[in-house]
Symmetry: C2
Subunit: 341 residues, 2 copies
Amino acid sequence: MQTYTVHRKAGRQSVLLEKNVALISVATVAGPKEGAGPLSQFFDRCCTDIFCQEESFEKAELQMLEEACYLALGKAGLSPEDMDYYIGGDLLNQIITSNFCARSLALPYLGIFGACSTLSQGLALGAMLIQGGFARYILVGTSSHNCTAERQYRYPTEYGFQRPAYAQWTVTGAGAVVLGPAGEGRGPAIEAITVGKVVDAGLKDPLALGTAMAPAAADTIYHHFQDLKRQPNDYQLILSGDLGGVGKKLNEDLLAAKGFDIAPLYGDCGVLMYYPHQKVNSGGSGCACIALAFLGYFYPKMLTQELRKVLLVATGALHSPTSYMQQESIPAIAHALALEI
Amino acid sequence: MQTYTVHRKAGRQSVLLEKNVALISVATVAGPKEGAGPLSQFFDRCCTDIFCQEESFEKAELQMLEEACYLALGKAGLSPEDMDYYIGGDLLNQIITSNFCARSLALPYLGIFGACSTLSQGLALGAMLIQGGFARYILVGTSSHNCTAERQYRYPTEYGFQRPAYAQWTVTGAGAVVLGPAGEGRGPAIEAITVGKVVDAGLKDPLALGTAMAPAAADTIYHHFQDLKRQPNDYQLILSGDLGGVGKKLNEDLLAAKGFDIAPLYGDCGVLMYYPHQKVNSGGSGCACIALAFLGYFYPKMLTQELRKVLLVATGALHSPTSYMQQESIPAIAHALALEI
């Protein structure tokens, strides 16, 4: 039997890259509520209309995703033809927004589903494909829309459903990244990847997603540290996707119980997305939450080297409305990327 | 700027592998109708009950997928702990079957959505990750269930909806593959991959999926030949996933119009899955269609070298019930894998 060497595995769940794949350009398109939030000035575009002048919320979401993709390409001075693959996913059934976006891009397409963990799953896959020599440039995109997601997962927003204090608000927006060869002035490189396992804490409330996802975030961050023999202080910032206020605290507590104090350098995009007076309760959620906050606000801080080492941990709740109605618990996942410039 | 070499790209959409990643073991679990069909004796297990003694169709589908995964692992003499990743997807909203299967496997998980193209998308990604040095073994699984898919995409089967002559029958079953290092007696290697683009012929009838997917199959096969300067005769068999009788003929015609006569060596798993008296009209469909037919029937023929070169082309219709109701057309995709032993 032929022997075979695995070069890049570190521990059980992590791989180390050679720092030659970078996020060479990024773009963000935000919805009206996000455009009225504290990060407003950092987005490339803010829609003033939740419909984006389209006929349906679904078409609005697609318009935002397509615009983010073309903006990211434009900033890199590249066209769709320069991309080897489009990797995308979103929250909607059959990831329909991504499928239609892939149709207009006309690129070889790898559709993924990781719910709100899509951004880091897509970047992880893209980085491995480039590092493996299968591509030079890959476009990664994701989106969510409050009104498409709420009516699919919970109730149509027109019902005016009362949300509990621990509920989160699905972010409306889209983000896209061009992954390509790293180099001087080419953006932060992806230096390590920890692909998450499904963690199911047995919770069943589809309004308490931060609580359901926090154990998955803690598990992935813990294994990232273990696999790579790292400590929280190896990063300047640990950024989770959309745990919100409730889930963020739980993630801190779970990691503290395992001996890792991340609190001093830990932020959550769901907490950062809105002002308190915007009444989103526990914070933002959705694929676009980490896409808007990281790509809009933190990525430029990496370009200026204000931040040099960031651990990006997008988290996803992988339940479906059917599994919820069948009284199943909520499976969750988180994927971590170490970024360095 | 640092230069970067793409080693493995061939043409626009294809990559060449070094033939050191093989399908080292496979397993299939079929439903009752499939177990009464012509391929019956080639499946590892046939359920006699559409519920598999579970409480719901969804749980039945999950049971079949989990069993296929554990059977494939057992045949390879490996356990979940030996796998670096689980890559899976299915037809259900939020790929819930795969998510729950990943929960029981407790492996780093990459969820994908490619509808009925899932098997070849998963094998393509898995092969690239192993070839790239990011994994040694990867488990790839997929499933579909007639009753979970029909009620989600069309009508609950209990309604007794009348199906037109061109409609297909969603296959009930699951298949799993252990990808790992190639070698003597280790199964067929993945030698080339062509990742498909979304092709949308403007069709809107969700019962005519073979017709909607055939242009995507023809596009991918055409680019496979162009990229790699190959001809149909370079293979002993070209096998599509689930175009059914109507779509198979259309695919042949589309390729003939581009100068490639595949008809003499072309088979479609949807056509092979059932007897005419089983009244499935245009044939089988669903993620499990190519999984059962290829992994159950053709894979053993590759092990005995009766077949040495096969082009495997799983096709997927990427629409959603929402996009259909919003009068959108059906985006389709196909991914091709060249297998060689």
